[in-house]
């Protein structure tokens, strides 16, 4: 008589596997068989045991198996949780479902077999991501060890499995052929350990009302839910890298001053940008697939008009180098502002009688009201810029006490040799020259602003002798897609159509409350907004707030059902299989 004991998790199909094996062996009429599970609670993911007896004579023993000749482990993660090898017969054999080599387990038994059943089952799409069903593959491996006929095996598997008969039979055949064996040359003869009965979690001394929390259900988990903050499409697509999702949130709470400060960090022209920008943020807004995008530009222009501080105190001058910026267009002003904020003295030279450059005489001049432009430029100048208007200062005439020159290409027409490739810096009378925007190249307003930001960084890095850190190259940036959103959790609220597309608008066409209401339509893509779904829908009460008041999962008890992840409206959770299956 040959006795087999199996360890698995509920739902992996071990009981069915043993039944099918017994049918395969009894098929010829040569063997008597027995297959049964240990009596107890079987729940998806919980550790369970099963038994199989094969004999050429009648089997009279109907008890559990305590000293099996072969121990089969259907789930690798059980090794650390259950004493799976206890009770193995002297000279006995073990079979593990793992991608590891059998040598790794040579101390456990005289003969060790391994088979990558989980990988095979995932390839054949048997079961789900949270629970691959490995039983057919394990039948194949067991048939090889027990000397069964794989063709009979495949036939009976096809008859017995409830779905995907062909895929199951193929999985068995692949496993039959991919079994690895290790025979221990000097098996350490150990005293037989006695197999424990079903491990009892009931305490010895009876007392009433012990909480079930003694039972750590975290060991059932195959996949793990995690809170993450992901990139929102609006912020991701902004050329200047403005934190759109975040400033919209501040606007929704009518915190317009903070919102202004946040935008100002990457873009000092919120009033203008809200009116003239191409709106990459809005073009990519996920709400477009629900009931219309969030009116981001109108919100931004409102913040620009109303959020700026009344009094601005310029930063202290820290460095000795003086910077000359030629031209007061959006790029020049942005560069000047950033360098002044960093602590440099900055002088802006503008040949015209008013600051603004292309904003005054370029593509916007017909519509752009002066007061709007003046408001924006005034705020920037107040940060401590020195502006020389009607200046006829030439790049070549600059006094030698300046530490750097910033200008666009059209200031270098007579000195085109100074225009260098990216990354190279040219010198004029010993002063480094930084070229901001290129000539005759039409780019959008916000991209011009970003050139200003970048030029300032380059100047500062050169003067401070620092290396510019290139942004890490990420193969695929994780941006929340529309299909990941759960729109039905958001109240439908059509877009407020009032817009500031042109400058002929009546200023203040939307009031603060209306702006906040429009901002409240934000879906919070990729970030938690405390909707409560993960907490409310958790069947196992494992979602809680930690000491820092963040939502977290208690992994000691989380069974890994994935409801929290699936019901997260804003796709701010991930749910991944714990161990990457080795290929």
């Amino acid at each position: 008589m040959f006795e087999v004991m199996g360890h698995a998790r509920g739902g992996q199909g071990m009981v069915t596997a043993f039944e099918i094996l017994s049918k395969i062996f009894s098929h010829t009429g040569e063997y008597e068989v027995q297959a049964f599970p240990s009596f107890g609670v079987e729940r998806t993911g919980a550790p369970i045991q099963g038994f199989l007896r094969i004999s050429k004579t009648e089997i009279l023993n109907r008890s559990n198996i305590y000293n099996p000749h072969l121990i089969v482990v259907f789930d690798e993660s059980l090794l650390g949780q259950v004493p799976v090898f206890a009770g193995l017969h002297e000279g006995g054999t073990i079979l593990l479902n793992t991608s590891n080599k059998p040598e790794m387990y040579q101390e456990k038994a005289a003969v060790v077999y391994t088979v990558p059943a989980t990988r095979i089952s995932i390839e054949k799409q048997l079961g789900s991501k949270s629970l691959p069903i490995v039983n057919s593959a394990m039948i194949g491996a067991l048939l090889r060890i027990l000397g069964g006929d794989i063709e009979v095996g495949k036939m009976i598997i096809k008859e017995e499995v409830p779905s995907k008969p062909d895929a199951n039979a193929e999985a068995a055949e692949i496993a039959y052929n991919s079994l690895s064996e290790f025979v221990n040359p000097n098996p350490i003869v150990k005293q037989l350990a006695t197999a424990p009965g079903p491990k009892s979690i009931i305490p010895q001394a009876p007392f009433w009302n012990d909480p079930m929390s003694l039972n750590k259900t975290g060991s059932w988990r195959m996949s793990i839910p995690i809170y993450v903050t992901r990139n929102a499409p609006c912020s991701h697509h902004c050329p200047a890298g403005t934190q759109v999702r975040e400033f919209i949130q501040l606007a929704a709470e009518e915190r317009f001053e903070e919102a202004y400060e946040l935008i100002f960090k990457t873009n000092p022209f919120p009033s203008l940008c809200g009116r003239v920008c191409a709106g990459y943020c809005e073009q990519n807004c996920n709400r477009a697939d629900y009931d219309g995008t969030v009116n981001i530009r109108t919100i931004e222009s409102y913040i620009g008009d109303h959020g700026s501080k009344k009094e601005i105190v310029p930063n202290q001058l820290i460095f000795d180098e003086k910077i000359a910026v030629f031209g007061s267009g959006p790029d020049g002003l942005t560069t000047a502002l950033r360098l002044r904020q960093a602590g440099y003295f900055v002088n802006v030279f503008e040949p015209a009688s008013k600051a603004g450059g292309i904003l005054r005489n370029g593509y916007l001049d017909d519509d752009l009201p002066d007061e709007l432009l003046n408001h924006e430029i005034e705020k920037i100048v107040q940060e401590g810029l020195e502006i020389s208007l009607n200046s006829n200062m030439q790049v070549t005439d600059l006094p030698a006490d300046f530490g750097a020159i910033v200008c666009s290409e059209n200031f270098l027409l007579e000195n085109t040799s100074l225009i260098r490739k990216k990354g190279e810096i040219s010198f004029l009378n010993g002063i480094p020259v930084f070229v901001s925007s290129e000539m005759n190249k039409v780019i959008s307003f916000i991209e011009t602003v970003e050139i200003g930001n970048k030029t300032a960084k380059a100047v500062n890095a050169f003067l401070r002798n620092e290396k510019l850190v290139a942004p890490a190259v990420i193969e695929e940036i994780d941006v929340v897609k529309s299909e990941e959103m759960r729109f039905h959790y958001y109240e439908s609220a059509p877009q407020n159509k009032k817009r500031s597309y042109t400058f002929s608008e009546v200023m203040d066409s939307l009031n603060g409350t209306e702006i906040a209401a429009e901002a409240a339509r934000c879906l919070h893509c990729g970030t938690c907004f405390n909707c409560g779904n993960c907490y409310n829908y958790c069947p196992d009460a494992v979602v809680h707030f930690d000491k820092k008041n963040r939502l977290r999962v208690d992994y000691e008890y989380c069974k890994g059902c994935g409801i929290c992840y699936h019901e997260c409206p804003s796709a701010a959770m991930k749910f991944d299989i714990i161990k990457k299956i080795k290929q």
């Binding site: 998806t44 012990d210 909480p211 405390n530 409560g532 829908y537 009460a541 994935g562």
Partner: protein, 297 residues
């Protein structure tokens, strides 16, 4: 952001570590129920998944008292518990039956009928997942048309029993249906039941990943679609007055819900889908008509 109101459970009255499957509807039901009813509650549990989930003696997954009883006698046991508590002067303690559909529709029906007719002061919660899931998915009279069970491997060919009407025929003061995907509605009904007296009955459409055969993360999504498709209307009947508490926002064909569940995956069901859709529409129309009927006050 102050969104404390979004977190519905203020007093957690269950322990983590319960012996339920992943994505179980029972545990989520009891988690919300116990948070509303409080610790001074006696749960009477006939044979069902919850007998296991509650834990082996002396362990307990719910703060409160659990009385395990036999399949056929949940309501009778609850009657006795109620009488005993009343005798001890503990009128404030709640007595709740937590039964599955097998223990309600089939084996526990006579006991339920008796207690409902006598007007016992108990709350009866039926967790309807449409089969005997604890013993490995056998057909009950709540099993929907077309569902595969181990006793109907080709799919059930009869319609499920209309238990709501059956209990309503006992003229109980309050009766409702609820779904875990609509927590506000569900919790409001539990609160109504807590504050009322007499025989109160609630039937919950419960998701069951191993029994309905789908990945556990879909539990809530499927529950929501079941209501949206009118397969399980959310309603209440108070003193004979019908009221639909949720009108589906979008037209969801039953086909869309059924294809998500492995128990409806058998060949041949496609041709019967029209019949199922017609039946669902007819049942909805019946409730709609009743809810529009004026009732003399």
């Amino acid at each position: 952001m102050n969104n404390a109101d979004n977190f519905l459970i203020k007093d957690e009255n269950v322990y983590s570590g319960a012996l339920s499957c992943r994505g179980c509807g029972w545990t989520l039901l009891v988690r919300h129920l116990s948070s509303i009813l409080g610790e001074d509650t006696v749960y009477v549990v006939p044979a069902s998944c919850f007998s296991i989930i509650a834990g082996p003696y002396p362990m307990n997954s719910v703060k409160g008292t659990i009385v395990h009883t036999v399949f056929a006698a949940a309501s009778a046991t609850a009657t006795g518990v109620r009488a005993s508590l009343d005798r001890q002067g503990k009128q404030a303690s709640k007595v709740v039956v937590l039964a599955g559909d097998g223990g309600t529709f089939d084996i526990g029906l006579q006991s339920l009928s008796g207690a409902a007719s006598r007007g016992e002061d108990i709350i009866y919660i039926c967790n309807n997942n449409g089969a005997y899931m604890n013993t490995g998915v056998q057909t009950s009279t709540a099993t929907p048309y077309g569902a595969i069970t181990t006793t109907n491997p080709a799919g059930k060919k009869t319609w499920p029993k209309n238990l709501v009407e059956l209990v309503a025929a006992h003229n109980v003061p309050y009766l409702a249906t609820a779904s875990l995907a609509f927590l506000d509605d569900f919790r409001a009904k539990i609160k109504r039941m807590r504050d009322a007296s007499g025989f109160r009955f609630l039937m919950l459409d419960s998701p069951c990943p191993p029994g309905h055969k789908y990945a556990p993360e879909l539990s809530i999504d499927i529950s929501r679609l079941v209501v949206e498709s009118k397969l399980f209307p959310l309603m209440e009947i108070e003193n004979g007055e019908y009221k639909i508490t949720y009108f589906p926002a979008h037209e969801v064909p039953v086909r869309d819900v059924m294809k998500l569940q492995g128990r409806f995956s058998q060949n041949g069901l496609n041709e019967e889908l029209n019949d199922i859709q017609k039946w669902v529409n007819k049942e909805w129309k019946k409730i709609l008509n009743k809810s529009e009927m004026p009732v003399e006050k």
